[in-house]
């Protein structure tokens, strides 16, 4: 049994709009084992990005807890928090918006190295940046250029290099390929898999593109209206989806296969509110579904 690197215990995030409380994330529980990838899927507004931000320590937590290596991230000592901030990094969806346009690539990538004093000299700092560029497949002459000089795929590589600069253990990947062309998506997914294998990284892969999630994830968590409606091993979820929402979501994904698409029934999910009293039940070993 591998040790869970992360454990969500009744994690909740509530936002207030005037007096109205919106439960963006409502008491969710799941674990992420070291060295694995968990795919977090759901539509806009399902709470998946809010969950990712809470786990990465850059979003609010209203209730419950997240354990990182067995320790609560809400009750860290100052030193422990600093270590956590280094070990958990986030890669964002839009490489056009998440990189500072006025900074040179070398300074973007070295930001974490500087913040955590990971280089002892200017030469060491530069050597680290060059090594990271090689790792993500960018040329060395990229260092003195600005983000706008790069394509979308290259910018996402810069974003990944920036995250890797502080030698993290865990990456929250928030829709890292949604804004990219198909063949570039494959390049980034290949790169992420290779880095994961080489550095034994753990991923939370947040996405709405379910075919890539299927390909990259060991486990899938499906969110709807801030709650988990289904969770389990990737193959179990894809081959035997149990919750009507999961079934609709999967049937909605167009496959690159015209014969299949012509025969496929389009399912409709009755978009009513979930029963607040319903809880997750283990329908099959390690396959959880919200009771209906």
């Amino acid at each position: 049994m591998t040790e869970p690197l992360l454990t969500m215990n009744d994690l909740s995030v509530t936002f207030y709009k005037g007096r109205q409380a919106i439960k963006a994330v409502d008491q969710i529980n799941f674990t992420i084992n070291a060295g694995t990838t968990v795919g977090l899927v759901g539509e806009s507004g399902s709470g998946k990005t809010t969950t990712g931000r809470a786990i990465a320590g850059i979003g609010p937590i209203s209730g419950g807890d997240v354990l990182f290596g067995g320790q609560s991230i809400r009750h860290f000592s100052h030193a422990a928090r600093k270590g956590f901030r280094r070990q958990v990094q986030m890669v964002f969806q839009d490489p056009f918006e998440s990189l500072n346009p006025r900074q040179k690539v070398v300074d973007i990538i070295a930001e974490g190295i500087d913040n955590f004093h990971l280089a002892t000299s200017r030469e060491a700092r530069l050597a680290q940046v060059l090594r990271l560029l090689t790792q993500v497949g960018l040329p060395a002459d990229a260092i003195n250029r600005f983000p706008h000089e790069f394509s979308g795929g290259q910018r996402q590589r810069i974003g990944i290099a920036r995250a890797l600069a502080v030698q993290p253990k865990f990456l929250v990947l928030d829709e890292p390929i949604s804004a990219l062309d198909v063949s570039i998506q494959a390049q980034i997914v290949n790169l992420l898999r290779q880095i994961q294998y080489e550095q034994h990284l753990t991923y939370l892969f947040i996405a709405h593109d379910l075919s890539m999630v299927h390909y990259i994830s060991d486990k899938i968590v499906v969110m709807y209206q801030g709650r988990i409606v289904e969770a389990g091993d990737t193959d179990a979820i894809y081959h035997h989806p149990l919750h009507p929402y999961t079934q609709t979501l999967l049937s909605s994904v167009p496959q690159a296969d015209p014969m299949l698409e012509q025969q496929k029934p389009v399912l409709h999910f009755d978009r009513q509110a979930l029963d607040p009293t319903a809880s997750l039940v283990e329908a099959a070993p390690a396959h959880w579904v919200l009771a209906q």
Binding site: E43, S44, S151, G152, D181, V182, S183, I184, Q185, A186, Q187, V189, N190, R193, Q194, H208, D209, L210, S211, M212, H214, Y215, Y238, T248, L249, S251, S252, V253, P254, Q255, A256, D257, P258, M259, L260, E261, V266, F269
Partner: protein
């Protein structure tokens, strides 16, 4: 089937100061009455520019030339800006990826949908109201009276996309051009919008050009598929021909970059290199530097169009009968086997080996 749109040798060059960008480099395209043609390509392949040229939407910095550009009997090369405005308002509908950029934020939805009818068709009063409500209902939005009173920002993403489709369809266009209309949507919404476009197409006998880079969406919606690379169409065929009998190495690359539902590969296929710099005219086959199957001739001479079947055309030297025998990637061989099987179920004729069939360039 008759062609409703015919484009021959379309070229678009953008003037950027002292530089030129060769965005579209000789596109031949025909849209048949009642079909959906998917135009597939990556950013910079020229798919949007080509369709914008067709619609007369390019600015003064674009030089558009073509041997022929027809909409029905109308010669689009001789069409004035004023006539184009009229055409776009009445016959050629357009929907965009981002409904917010296609909708006026300060105007109520109902007024926007009715605008074209009022201006071009002089429909007013109660008749206008009825037409607008019918259009809103037609795209699956309940309570048209309520929706008509709202502003774009008061609608959800899916409702806005439906409202924009209603705005395009209320004029009963003959041709609908859909420029990545579902790229920004969640998959469940995407499935609904695709179903809606298909239903509307059947109901109104629309001809549709659907621009996308998502091969799943293509498989769902297209009758025929044209693959674009560096401003040219490199392969065109029926959906079955493109997905199960693809011939161009670029098409192979695109298909292999998408994981299948039971993908066991450690790494997905990716094309080496980057798309060509379109600031210079390209010598030889633009795809040659990224083509694992490239031969010396690919770098020297542009391939002609080879015919594989009456509906399937490919621009690649691989189809030349003088080309030494080659094997496509295993994943593509599997697709070919499927095609042979499909073909056998439908006719008794064997599939002609493509290289022989493609012996004659057209």
């Amino acid at each position: 089937m008759t062609d409703i749109v015919t484009v021959k040798n379309l070229k678009v060059i953008f003037n950027e100061g002292n530089e030129q960008v060769y965005a579209v480099n000789g596109v031949d395209l025909n849209l048949r009455q009642g079909e959906t043609l998917a135009l597939v390509g990556e950013s910079g392949s020229g798919k949007s520019v080509a369709t914008h040229a067709l619609l007369g939407l390019l600015g003064k910095d674009a030089v558009v030339t073509a041997d022929e550009m027809l909409y029905g009997e109308t010669d689009l090369l001789q069409t004035s800006r004023r006539q184009y405005t009229h055409l776009r308002g009445q016959e050629l509908g357009l929907i965009f990826q981002d409904p917010l950029s296609g909708l006026n934020p300060t105007m109520r939805i109902g007024r926007q949908i009715g605008e074209g009818l009022k201006v071009h068709r002089h429909v007013h009063g109660q008749a206008l109201k009825q037409a607008v409500f019918a259009a809103i209902e037609d795209v699956g939005l309940a309570d048209p009276a309520l929706i008509a009173r709202k502003y774009p920002h008061e609608l959800s993403g899916g409702q806005r996309q439906r409202a924009m489709i209603a705005m395009a369809l209320v004029m009963q266009p003959k041709v609908l051009i859909a420029d990545e209309p579902t790229t920004a949507l969640d998959v469940t919404l995407q499935a609904q919008i695709l179903a809606l476009i298909k239903a509307q197409k059947a109901k109104h006998d629309l001809s549709v050009i659907f621009i996308t880079h998502d091969l799943g969406v293509v498989a769902n919606i297209a009758d025929r598929v044209a693959i674009m690379y560096a401003g040219k169409i490199v392969e065109v065929g029926t959906a079955n021909e493109i997905f199960y009998h693809p011939q161009h190495p670029y098409t192979w690359g695109l298909l292999d970059a998408v994981p299948s539902s039971d993908d066991q590969r450690d790494q997905l296929f990716t094309l080496p290199g980057t798309p060509p710099d379109l600031h210079q005219p390209i010598k030889g086959d633009a795809f040659a530097p990224r083509n694992p199957y490239a031969m010396p001739i690919d770098f020297k001479k542009e391939p002609p169009l080879f015919q594989v079947s009456p509906t399937h055309f490919v621009r690649s030297w691989l189809l030349d009968p003088r080309t030494p025998h080659y094997q496509p990637p295993v994943t593509i061989q599997k697709r070919w086997a499927r095609f042979a099987q499909l073909h056998a179920e439908q006719t008794n004729d064997p599939v002609v080996e493509s290289q022989q069939a493609g012996g004659v360039p057209v």
